[in-house]
């Protein structure tokens, strides 16, 4: 079940009514409802993989308790490694096995040995990277004595499989989400209104911006050899807005849905395309994943402490692993490495924490320096997205080579250009709204807060009409494949 379908429009009100009217007085019952709803939500995609989710949940629940009750460190370490190995093992089999098998065969072929690796034909269970990381953070937190093991299975299972975040995050932490699951939720009028508003904005981002951009990005990337440089640049720009609209739109719907149920999830996006450098971009893009890698990989490796070599190594490791997390393809690895290269000068010159506040805070417009810095960062990001979107490294390099050829200065030409002009106007308006709302949790959080209600309602209806009118051809959420 996708957030942007009519099925979800029926599913959510049913869950909401049962949650606040039928099970409200009994926390256990309310959590059981959330669990059943989450499993139903997941099984709508493919019920067979529900067992994998259940197994992963049981594994971490059990090893968590075992770690907590362990008589000594050795025993505790055993249960930690058992959980880590099995969790990563599943991820490895479903997501990375074919990649390693093919890469190994290619490497041997370079040495003159020819083998036909055994590959498996399985579909990737949706959300496996997300719920595996949920579980891993939980057992790692127990191991490091940050939290105690959860002994109520239902509460733990809700933490892992809470439907708004189950298939594409945000990647939650037990320290943040579990306490909310354990205590009775109080209905909050302002938060509920805010939740609905955030869902509306998320739907706009996904259905109007991302799905329409996808049509052109797919057309241009899938036939890139047929297009000139300026068209390829447009294709890269369309993908840049597609992936932002798609993933941040998903996150907005997830956060809004959870807020309707009285639960606050971690923020995942903070206007990343207004970043002044790559370090700031990574503090604003897929925040829950970046912070996960920071806390469970970068810091344990030594972080930014130690010698220059250690810092460089850690930076590359975290970015490459982050790239690899997205998928078993060299394109993601190079995308990660490229971001590390972007990041490195800032790290080495100690300027990676220069831009912590949102750009042009308290001002309507940025100054020239800020415009220049944002433009450079945006441009670098667009280049990196080409690797992310391309089918192979060869495809990415060919794409970039043609994009930066002399044909960059010829007029773009592709099917549906007149509709693309309308889309460009929509993207422009979208970015203006994003800019004006950049100091809030999401762009329209306070838009119209001081307007009279008819005007405010007119604004929301206008968004609904835009969704109705310009809704692109339904596309899967990009991050479902990760």
């Amino acid at each position: 079940m996708l957030f942007n379908t009519i099925d979800f429009a029926f599913f959510l009100p049913v869950v909401y009514i049962l949650y606040w009217f039928v099970t409200k007085r009994n926390l256990n019952l309310q959590n059981i409802l959330l669990l059943v709803a989450s499993y139903f939500f997941y099984s709508c995609w493919d019920w067979r993989f529900l067992f994998l989710l259940m197994f992963s949940t049981l594994l971490d629940y059990y090893t968590g308790i075992k770690m907590c009750d362990a008589p000594n460190t050795k025993n505790k370490k055993f249960w930690l490694w058992l959980s880590v190995i099995i969790n990563l093992g599943f991820l490895g089999v479903f997501k990375y096995y074919n990649f390693f098998a093919d890469s190994f065969a290619s490497a041997l072929a370079q040495l003159g040995f020819k083998i036909n690796p055994y590959t498996i034909q399985v579909i990737l269970p949706v959300g496996i990277s997300f719920y595996t990381f949920h579980g891993l953070s939980y057992v790692l937190d127990i191991y490091h004595n940050r939290i105690k093991a959860e002994r109520n299975f239902v509460e733990y299972a809700v933490f892992v499989s809470f439907f708004p975040l189950l298939v594409a995050g945000p990647i939650e932490r037990a320290t943040h989400l579990l306490p909310q699951i354990k205590k009775p939720r109080q209905f909050d009028y302002a938060k509920s209104i805010d939740g609905l508003r955030q869902i509306l904005w998320g739907l706009f981002k996904k259905i109007v911006i991302a799905d329409n951009c996808a049509e052109y990005a797919n057309q241009i990337f899938n036939n890139s050899a047929d297009y000139n440089g300026s068209t390829l640049l447009l294709g890269a720009l369309f993908f840049t807005f597609q992936i932002y609209g798609d993933f941040s739109g998903y996150s907005d719907i997830a956060l809004g849905t959870a807020r309707l149920l009285g639960i606050e999830l971690l923020r995942n996006f903070a206007f990343p395309y207004f970043s002044r450098d790559i370090a700031e971009f990574w503090r604003r893009w897929h925040i829950s994943l970046s912070s996960w890698f920071r806390d469970y990989l970068y810091v344990p490796l030594g972080g930014s402490r130690g010698s220059t070599w250690t810092r460089v190594r850690n930076t590359f490791i975290i970015f490459i692993v982050s790239g690899f997390w997205h998928g078993a393809n060299w394109t993601f690895i190079v995308w990660g490495a490229l971001n590390a290269i972007y990041f490195l000068p800032l790290l080495l010159t100690h300027r990676n924490r220069n831009n912590l506040e949102i750009v042009a805070q308290g001002r309507l417009l940025p100054n020239l320096k800020e415009v220049f810095m944002m433009s450079i960062t945006f441009f670098l990001t667009v280049i990196a997205w080409v690797f992310f979107r391309a089918n192979s490294l060869e495809h990415a390099f060919q794409y970039l080579a043609e994009m930066f050829s002399s044909s960059l200065f010829s007029a773009p030409k592709f099917t549906g250009m007149s509709r693309a002009v309308v889309l460009s106007v929509l993207i422009f308006l979208f970015m203006i709204i994003e800019w004006t709302g950049r100091e809030n949790q999401y762009a329209i959080a306070h838009t119209g807060a001081k307007w009279k209600w008819p005007l405010r309602y007119a604004f929301y209806y206008a968004i609904i009409i835009a969704i109705f009118w310009f809704g692109g051809k339904e596309q899967q959420f990009i991050y479902f494949q990760f």
Partner: protein, 323 residues
């Protein structure tokens, strides 16, 4: 909590209350548009009961660009209407037949233009917007369009939902609202000849693949046989016609003989007249076609006359002699 629910209800209520009139309005506007070459005109005639006729011509684009109902009516007597559906196979042609019978008097005779596409089934719902104005709460349309990629079940039952994101259809509604409906109809009694010269469709097709192989769809064949049975039980005379194809195009179809044999055996099995023009001299004359599967206006007029004459001589006259 109540305040929240009241606000939500007040916000959603206008959308729900307006959904039916808005749906009606959009459908009304779309029905007047020229979105697809005359398809909506034919549907309008069917649903407005303006498609009453003695002789109905069925088939795909090879019906509506090739068989002139006026020539047929003039030669055979009575009235005629061409119900050819562009780009579709029998399943959708059958849907049009059902809707015709539902909203109009039944025709006495059906001239069915069969071809290599009749008994196949395409995956996509070609020109799906043509169904939008008519499909709400319409069980026939749901039955025969829902097994294609295109609509979801809610599209058939909830007002307005099916228009969401259908930008082409919505823009056409807006165009009608601003500019008014088109001054002239595109088709005349469902017929529109193509006044074009030979194009490169066949060359392009050959570049894509050496031969085209027809893949029969079993369910479509069963439905076709069911249709033949229904025509018999309703006393509707059914005539199968295989219109001319340009000789080079005939060679391009890998299993053409199999297609023809299928229709021949169906005609024999159900004792139906079958007029096969695939060996007619028209097939050798490139000037009569605009592509290998479609006659141009000159070819269509000549073929319509030949067909009308042949039906009259071989079928109507014989029927009159042996009622």
């Amino acid at each position: 909590m109540n305040k929240f629910h009241i606000k939500v209800i007040l916000f959603i209520a206008p959308i729900i209350l307006l959904s039916v009139p808005l749906d009606y309005g959009l459908s009304y506007l779309l029905r007047q548009s020229d979105l697809y070459p005359g398809e909506l005109e034919v549907w309008n005639d069917i649903y407005n009961s303006n498609a009453n006729c003695d002789i109905a011509i069925y088939g795909s684009s090879r019906a509506w660009v090739q068989i002139d109902p006026k020539i047929i009516a003039d030669t055979l007597g009575g009235s005629a209407y061409n119900f050819g559906v562009d780009g579709h196979n029998f399943q959708l042609e059958y849907l049009r037949h059902l809707e015709l019978l539902k909203h109009n008097k039944k025709p006495k005779t059906i001239i069915f233009s069969v071809d290599i596409f009749t008994l196949q089934k395409r995956k996509d719902l070609y020109q799906f917007e043509q169904f939008l104005p008519f499909m709400l709460w319409n069980k026939n349309i749901q039955k025969y369009t829902s097994n294609y990629e295109g609509f979801t079940s809610t599209d058939y039952w909830l007002p307005l939902i099916r228009y969401a994101g259908k930008t082409t259809a919505l823009n056409n509604c807006l165009k009608i609202l601003i500019k008014g409906k088109p001054a002239h109809k595109y088709r005349d009694h469902g017929y529109r000849p193509e006044n074009s010269k030979w194009n490169e469709d066949l060359t392009a097709a050959k570049e894509k693949q050496e031969h085209y192989i027809v893949k029969f769809d079993t369910a479509t064949i069963h439905l076709f046989e069911q249709f033949i049975g229904e025509c018999k039980s309703q006393n509707i005379s059914l005539i199968l016609v295989y219109a001319p194809e340009y000789i080079e195009g005939q060679k391009y179809i890998g299993n053409r003989k199999e297609v023809l044999d299928t229709f021949k055996s169906l005609s024999e099995k159900y004792h139906l007249p079958f007029f096969d023009y695939t060996n007619d001299s028209i097939c050798l004359d490139k000037n009569m076609f605009y592509n290998s599967m479609h006659l141009n206006q000159t070819g269509a007029e000549r073929f319509s006359s030949v067909l009308a004459h042949d039906i009259k001589m071989n079928y109507v006259t014989r029927a009159e002699q042996h009622p």
